[in-house]
């Protein structure tokens, strides 16, 4: 267990260092989410949007950003030619854990900036900030969990371009729906117990995240090794 943790930590450190040097993924995603938000704001034309629509738009931008940025994690290893060495030196689960945490952290950073810009641009009033943060964090974890395995899958295919969004979007529908309804509740609030009203959605998100990550851990070796 100790060795497994230190191996996963070493892999995460390597990726974090590479990311901090180039800031490629975070920069691309930041520019993307901000421009997407501006487009949405322009399209709304200054009209006040319903809280449900706001929640939906926020999660659509998050989903597209994830599909854009997270597909890189394994493709980059293939392009740098480091994938063989990694395969020799690390077990599948440590690689998965490292990439999962990396994806989670980078999407969380991007989402925090996105959330700030979203609240300011649309002058949103949040009824329950705590619930909003929990929803974003849980949703990000589920998103990272599902995307990591799919990113490993598309790194093994010949035509990578549009494949990740196509695999990812339908699979993430359950997570997205729960996330949107929880976000909606956190924005508008209900008179008697917003948290209790959101409990169903939060539980469904936690369940989805748990199932997706456990399945990924069990399946990852089959994608990783030849």
């Amino acid at each position: 267990m100790r060795r497994w943790l230190s191996a996963a930590w070493a892999l995460l450190q390597k990726d974090l260092q590479l990311e901090l040097r180039s800031r490629y993924v975070v920069n691309v995603l930041l520019v993307f989410v901000l421009s997407a938000l501006l487009v949405v704001a322009l399209a709304a034309g200054g009209d006040a949007l319903d809280a449900r629509i706001q929640a939906g738009l926020l999660w659509i931008v998050i989903l597209f950003a994830a599909a854009l940025g997270l597909g890189r994690s394994f493709v980059a290893e293939e392009e740098r030619g480091t994938v063989l060495l990694l395969r020799l030196n690390a077990t599948g689960t440590t690689v998965y854990a490292g990439k999962l945490v990396l994806s989670f952290v980078s999407v969380l950073v991007v989402n925090s900036v996105l959330l700030g810009a979203f609240l300011v641009l649309f002058s949103v009033e949040v009824a329950r900030p705590g619930l909003l943060m929990v929803t974003i964090a849980l949703g990000t974890l589920g998103l990272a969990g599902a995307t990591t395995l799919l990113a490993a899958i598309i790194a093994r295919t010949a035509r990578r371009g549009p494949l990740l969004p196509m695999l990812l979007f339908p699979l993430l529908c359950p997570l997205l729906l729960s996330a949107v309804s929880a976000t909606h509740l956190s924005l508008s609030g209900v008179p008697l117990g917003t948290w209790r009203a959101a409990a169903d959605s939060l539980l469904a998100m936690a369940g989805f995240t748990g199932v997706v990550i456990s399945a990924s851990v069990l399946l990852f070796d089959y994608v990783w090794h030849d």
């Binding site: 295919t157 339908p170 529908c173 399945a215």
Partner: protein
């Protein structure tokens, strides 16, 4: 599963007879033997129960079969299992599309009677459409993998992964949202609203449609086997030619 031709043909004949009886029973009018209870608006469209609902049972059976074959493929690396998973997904998509069509057509004349609506975003309906898309993506993924062993393994991983998320689509979320389907929030479950007479046709219809799906699935598997054999012979001939 190795069936002789004669055995296969007799099962097929039995299925044809069975489905003929089911169809006759489904459309038997005038209180001959199995009339449906007449409920305003529903009237005779209640007979859609014999078609729409078995489509989903059949699709679930096929996706479970596909996931099982994919799981076996991961364990053994056998390409035969990959063929079977592919055939099962193929037929599952067919039944999914039929389920969507029968549902949406029926709802146009009952739920949305007097309106122009063909498709309303009822959670169960939308989730079923998403499930069909998930399995459509399976074929797109297969097309972007060239090497047979790798294609078998990677697409099996995707298939198993997709299968574990399906319960959320079909059972968890639709029950948390408002829906017109039975068993959703506040609606009575299927067992409370279905007249016993209709069950006499409904259960045999489920068995019959699953049987039809099995026939189609066997057909696809045999086609894939022939294609694989033809490919092998083709490449052997090519190698022989080059020498």
């Amino acid at each position: 599963m190795s069936l002789t031709g004669a055995c296969y043909r007799s099962i097929r004949l039995a299925l044809v007879a069975w489905m003929t009886l089911v169809l006759l029973a489904a459309f038997s009018f005038g209180g001959l033997l199995l009339n449906v209870p007449r409920i305003p608006i529903l009237e005779h469209t209640a007979r859609n129960l014999y078609f729409h609902v078995p489509m989903w049972f059949t699709m679930m059976a096929l996706t479970a079969m596909a996931a099982w074959q994919s799981f076996r493929c991961l364990k053994t690396g056998d390409l035969e299992c990959d063929m079977r998973a592919r055939a099962a997904v193929h037929v599952a998509i067919l039944f999914g599309v039929l389920g969507l069509l029968t549902g949406s057509y029926w709802a146009h004349y009952t739920w949305y009677e007097g309106t122009d609506i063909w498709w309303n975003f009822d959670p169960k309906q939308t989730m079923a459409a998403v499930q069909v898309l998930i399995y459509g993506a399976y074929f797109a993924l297969r097309n972007s993998l060239d090497e047979p062993e790798k294609r078998a393994r990677i697409s099996a991983v995707y298939n198993v992964f997709a299968f574990v998320t399906v319960p959320f689509l079909l059972y968890v979320l639709p029950r948390q949202m408002e829906s017109l389907h039975p068993g959703a929030e506040g609606n009575p479950a299927f067992s409370e609203i279905t007249h016993p007479v209709m069950r006499l046709v409904f259960y045999p219809a489920i068995a019959g449609f699953i049987g039809v799906a099995w026939l189609l699935y066997r057909q696809r598997v045999r086609t894939y086997r022939l294609e694989a054999a033809a490919d092998r012979r083709g490449s052997e001939a090519l190698i022989g030619h080059m020498h």
